[in-house]
């Protein structure tokens, strides 16, 4: 209810149609599925004690499996992560408007109440959620929530809650959600091979910290492997790794920042040569273990904001990751879609200052590097890749001190040729994927050798 200025009361009870539209319109299909994965992971995390997810801890998730299958006819997700209790179902997952932020505890990332309902309304119109769990007395319990959306939408009168039925037990304690009668858009996307493959890529990236702890996620029966995030250490290179505590209101937020060289910077800064070569570089942000921003090169992570230059190909090779950990997910600087960070959050802005300083060290290194290329390449070959979990604590990033070498003035060449000819020449030169720049250089060397021939 809202009260107007004259004191009259206005009936502001929403309709189901309005509610469904509101919670589904700004979320993508991918995020809907990731929401469900978040719920499963939260259950697993709860089982393991619900502690802060810092990189250094040793929580092993290898006992947990999440299986997803998506086809134009049917979507399903099934986990063995312990299941949702009847209380959770009644109080949160399938009720409307009874959950307060104080309940977002235990270092979770999902928001049960929204995730389940979103999935119901976004994916299809015939949903069955099943849960099997072991209660505090050690007895196994099972229930099912069938949701027929069209039926449910017919009546706006409260209560809006869904019915909960008895059910036979699943093999393992866990949750199974099956959605049939998929919506047209969902059906089309699930028939798109690129969608499924991109979903796998998204899972590999966003849950890489969980997957690297042993969690198993399979899509269409095939396991997804976590994207390894590694930094190079040794030979004068050492990533920064700092930890500090921050406050979000009364609550504490743990922040950990790691950054350094993941790969040597590119030979060329020609965008034609970029392909997806620099796709993995930039800043990553994780909130309670879930990566919500990956390889960011935009103003969100600070590039191109005050006292911080815009991303440039020259800076490729750098990876930084910031981990925010909070008992209450509401204190984390993430947007509601969990697809980006809330750049106005104080916790995040304070972290960004440190991210800027680390980035600037790298920028300075790549600037000097251009004039000491031979020395830089020699030194960059030394360090070894180390998974970020194993990066040593260090207050600042270490990079070799290079000495600028005065070089002969160079001529830059720029010309256009048909791509087909370029590809044919690259193939003849031994690598169909050779960068245009290298094809140009090799052609120059070849001609130079023929016509000038002085080496």
């Amino acid at each position: 209810m809202v009260v107007n200025t004259r004191g009259d009361k206005v009936d502001a009870s929403p309709t189901k149609g309005f509610f469904v539209n509101m919670i589904t319109r700004d979320i993508t299909l991918e995020d809907t599925i990731l929401d469900l994965i978040d719920n499963s992971i939260d259950a697993a995390w709860h089982n393991e004690g619900g502690q802060a997810m810092e990189l250094a801890d040793t929580v092993d998730l290898s006992a947990y499996r999440i299986s997803i299958s998506a086809s134009p006819e049917r979507f399903s997700i099934r986990d063995n992560c312990g299941g949702m209790t009847l209380d959770d179902a009644v109080e949160h997952a399938f009720s409307f408007g009874r959950r307060g932020s104080q309940e977002l505890e235990e270092y979770s990332i999902g928001v049960y109440g929204i995730g389940m309902k979103r999935a119901a309304f976004k994916l299809g119109t015939n949903i069955r959620v099943r849960s099997t769990y072991t209660d505090s007395d050690g007895a196994r319990e099972a229930f099912a929530v069938p949701i027929l959306v069209d039926e449910w939408m017919k009546n706006d009168n409260p209560p809006w809650d869904f019915d909960i039925d008895e059910d036979h037990e699943l093999d393992d304690d866990g949750v199974e959600i099956v959605v049939e009668s998929l919506r047209e858009g969902t059906k089309a996307e699930f028939g798109n091979p690129a969608f499924i493959r991109n979903l796998r890529r998204m899972i590999a990236r966003d849950y890489s910290l969980h997957l690297n702890r042993g969690l198993k996620i399979a899509v269409g029966g095939k396991a997804v492997e976590g994207l390894p995030i590694e930094l190079r250490q040794g030979g004068g290179f050492a990533p920064v790794r700092v930890e500090y505590k921050d406050q979000a209101g009364e609550d504490e937020v743990m922040v950990e920042i790691i950054g350094g060289m993941a790969a040597p910077p590119p030979e060329s800064i020609d965008p034609d040569d970029a392909k997806d070569g620099d796709r993995r570089f930039g800043w990553y942000v994780a909130c309670n273990g879930r990566i919500v921003l990956a390889a960011d090169k935009t103003t969100v992570s600070g590039w191109g904001t005050s006292d911080w230059p815009q991303w440039h190909r020259q800076y490729s090779g750098f990876i930084g990751i910031v981990l925010f950990t909070a008992a209450n997910a509401a204190d984390l600087p993430l947007t509601t879609t969990k697809r980006s960070v809330d750049a106005s959050s104080g916790v995040y802005l304070r972290a960004r200052r440190r991210m800027r300083d680390i980035s600037k060290e790298w920028i300075a290194y790549t600037n000097v590097r251009k004039q000491a290329l031979a020395e830089a390449k020699r030194r960059e070959a030394v360090p070894e890749a180390v998974p970020i979990q194993h990066v040593k604590k260090r207050l600042s990033i270490a990079l070799p001190k290079l000495v600028r070498v005065k070089t002969e003035p160079v001529a830059n060449v720029n010309y256009s040729v048909p791509v087909s000819k370029m590809k044919r020449l690259a193939t003849e030169l031994g690598n169909v994927n050779m960068t245009y720049r290298d094809v140009g250089l090799k052609s120059f060397d070849y001609t130079y050798d023929d016509h000038v021939g002085d080496g």
Partner: protein, 314 residues
């Protein structure tokens, strides 16, 4: 040099069989979906074999052949088999764009066969994308390209090359083995099909893209033909029915490698077919000559489509 200067198109039996199967398939779709006044768009070269089939078996009158080569254009105009074949001079991307902009062409379903003789390239992928995105409803698209593994770089380079060409549909775990030897043709057929489906979804074609054709064949070179239909929403289920029917032959499990036979050999084999049991090598020997077992099997499978050519001394 254009490929018609190297290969006499008429004399490739596997290609001929493939073409026959495909036109039979298109005829089934045309009849079930009640398609009429279709337009055939192809790369007729100077031989126009597919155009002749399009006219004879599909009763298509209006046909457009695209020819980029200057001499080829002149020869194509000379060789075009029917008055209603229009030869357009230009690269396929430009001519397709003109056809897509033409309101009259947009008013009829097309059969488009982009029958290339080279390996898959950025330009071809662009053509496939354009046809799926912009062609009229109920258009049937086919594309043929060279699929020998070595045409796509060294084994370790091939996945990246495919990623360059086809983008996100190329799985991250595509193995080197999947890009070698005969597996490469399967991989290419599957990924180009996936690419077509993805474009159908991403361009929000109301009926999507339904894969219908997948043929690997070899005369002197491994080739792949894939394609499907972008049906009007009302035709989706009919198209799916036709393609999932057991009589649909346009997605054979095995590649088509037809033996090169003399007329006398072919006629002798035909006289032994059809039969309830399998034709054996011994039976062929008894009839006076010999073939490898797999050649016999290939002939038996496709004897009805096997082309017969005789030299005409003019």
């Amino acid at each position: 040099m254009a490929s018609f200067d190297i290969v006499n198109y008429s004399l490739r039996p596997s290609k001929g069989i493939q073409r026959q199967i495909i036109f039979d398939g298109i005829r089934m779709l045309k009849s079930r979906l009640e398609l009429s006044d279709m337009i055939y768009v192809g790369l007729g070269s100077i031989w126009f074999s597919d155009f002749v089939q399009a006219h004879k078996s599909l009763d298509i009158r209006r046909m457009v052949s695209i020819e980029a080569d200057d001499t080829g254009y002149c020869r194509a105009r000379f060789n075009k088999p029917y008055a209603t074949v229009q030869v357009r001079h230009g690269h396929s991307s430009a001519v397709l764009a003109e056809l897509h902009d033409d309101d009259d062409c947009q008013a009829h379903p097309w059969v488009v066969w982009l029958d290339y003789d080279g390996r898959l390239s950025e330009a071809m992928v662009g053509d496939i994308r354009a046809v799926i995105e912009r062609s009229p409803s109920d258009t049937i698209l086919l594309t043929t390209f060279k699929a020998r593994a070595t045409s796509y770089g060294r084994p370790e380079q091939r996945k990246e090359r495919l990623r360059d060409l086809l983008g996100d549909v190329v799985p991250d775990d595509l193995s080197k083995a999947g890009c070698k030897g005969d597996r490469m043709q399967e991989t290419l057929a599957d990924l180009v099909t996936d690419f077509m489906k993805a474009i159908g979804v991403e361009s929000a074609r109301p009926g999507g893209f339904i894969p219908a054709f997948r043929i690997i064949y070899k005369d002197t070179m491994e080739m792949v033909t894939v394609g499907g239909i972008v049906p009007a929403p009302g035709n989706v289920s009919s198209a799916t029915d036709v393609i999932s029917d057991e009589r649909w032959r346009c997605r054979p499990q095995r590649r088509i490698v037809a033996p090169l036979l003399t007329i006398r050999e072919a006629v002798t084999l035909l006289s032994l077919l059809p039969r309830d049991d399998e034709l054996t090598r011994e039976q062929v020997r008894v009839s006076g000559f010999d073939l490898e077992q797999e050649q016999i099997e290939a002939f038996e499978r496709y004897y009805r489509e096997y082309p017969m050519f005789a030299q005409i001394v003019a």
